[in-house]
Symmetry: C2
Subunit: 269 residues, 2 copies
């Protein structure tokens, strides 16, 4: 999926919502455990309930890897069920030396049909560039994350800036706003002002709204650009809205609340 197609989706759905399918077998409604693949059944129900309200789904690979090889089958089948109208992100936080990152790109872009993958930038250019060689695919590089540990390194000084600013500034030269995005957490909404000075045009993938407490309106206010330029991810607040028989309706309800707030924020876009 390329940038124009993504913006078209945002415009037509009046939404820049990404739903995180961090589907944990121990947290899904109990009545699904009798299914052959409970997590797949759960994902399919959530997707059916939210397809028209979001422009993207994000699968955090950790939750699938915790089930071993069968988790990878679940991930693949979930991808097939989503189809091609949503930007599908592997939240995998990969990154390794060049010949190895090439293998990760093959794993997620070729063997599986993800459109995008999150990348940990610690190892530098040759760990990121192999993901940028693929047509209509995206590398989403970690900038400033939403967790407490961001204070340990990301927010530390790096020369006359902070490490995450150096990461944004340096790594944005490796690709373009057509094949790179950055992760910037909603829990530090004031940082979006600094982020937008460095990467005004890129899309930002924004975790931290929902269970982690970030504010959607603050993210929009400080983070949007002329193409919206935001994918706001909500995972647990949507998919675990209820653990009961009504989980589908409750998940749709929460997703719709976010979509309606986005619609209002987007104004005449």
């Amino acid at each position: 999926m390329n940038r124009t197609q993504l913006i078209d989706q945002i415009r037509s759905k009046r939404s820049f919502l990404c739903i995180g399918l961090d589907s944990d077998r121990t947290k899904i409604p109990e009545h699904l455990l009798m299914e052959a693949d409970p997590v797949l059944a759960f994902n399919q129900a959530i997707i059916d309930a939210t397809r028209d309200l979001c422009v993207s789904y994000k699968l955090n690979t950790a939750f699938y890897e915790a089930e071993g090889a069968s988790g990878w089958v679940t991930m693949q089948k979930t991808l097939e069920y989503i189809g091609s109208d949503h930007l599908v992100i592997a939240d995998a936080k990969r990154g390794d030396i060049g010949n190895t990152s090439d293998q990760y790109a093959r794993a997620f872009f070729e063997k599986m049909s993800f459109h995008a993958i999150t990348i940990a930038p610690y190892m530098g250019s040759d760990s990121v560039k192999p993901f940028l060689k693929w047509q209509d695919k995206w590398a989403i590089v970690l900038g400033l994350t939403s967790n407490e540990g961001a204070a340990d390194f990301e927010l530390q000084p790096s020369g006359d800036e902070r490490l995450y600013e150096r990461v944004l500034r340096t790594s944005s030269t490796w690709g373009t706003p057509e094949n790179m995005m950055f992760v910037v957490g909603a829990t530090r909404a004031d940082s979006f002002v600094d982020v937008r000075k460095i990467v005004p045009d890129h899309f930002l993938l924004v975790p931290g709204v929902g269970a982690q407490g970030g504010s959607l309106s603050d993210v929009y206010r400080y983070g949007k650009n002329s193409d919206i330029g935001l994918l706001v991810n909500v995972s647990r607040a949507v998919i675990y809205a209820s653990a009961g028989a009504d989980f589908v309706e409750q998940a749709r309800g929460v997703a719709m609340t976010y979509q309606q707030e986005m619609n209002a924020l987007m104004g005449s876009f």
Copy 2:
């Protein structure tokens, strides 16, 4: 495997060699492609040929993920074949917010029986600590890697030190030399002097000898401690020593050259 057991292995085998099973289906000897699982057959042959010469095997997950779900089965079966006398490392470079790193720990320490996993430290404490809660398991945190891209961030100033030094200094407080190691690349052997000032007691996993050109004797000279404290990894130089019918003998030959050099370096240890 705990630290005492690892040191015992090093002492009895007179080796601190780790062999990297970065097994790429497109690079293994052609006659193996008729096997039901060619990569597993390749790994088993390499393991049989090198078992007595090394104390550790490292599987880079990228090469297995590139084969999808079946690659995870290959990884699992390779682990079973190795058994429990070698420290088995998942070179996975994972790391995510706390509840997600918990899932990765489950994936590699419980669902699969790896002893250790490599971790990218960019996201800070809560992305690393979940791996430290497991008995006789290891988190191997990226310090200074062997690739060109290390210059982009790892070697950049961070306050009055360099980023990788901050990472070593800060993250070493989260665990102990009994449950943490650090990755330090052999291609920058002079850095071991600085590294050992910060983490004198930890084991270091050292890539970059072999195909990447680092010197084993320099690594030993600057990096060893009183327990040896080094696991020197060689991947391609051993496993792809030959692409022909003699690949087993050639791989053993290269591994033995390294083991013999290690034996000589270790002196009276």
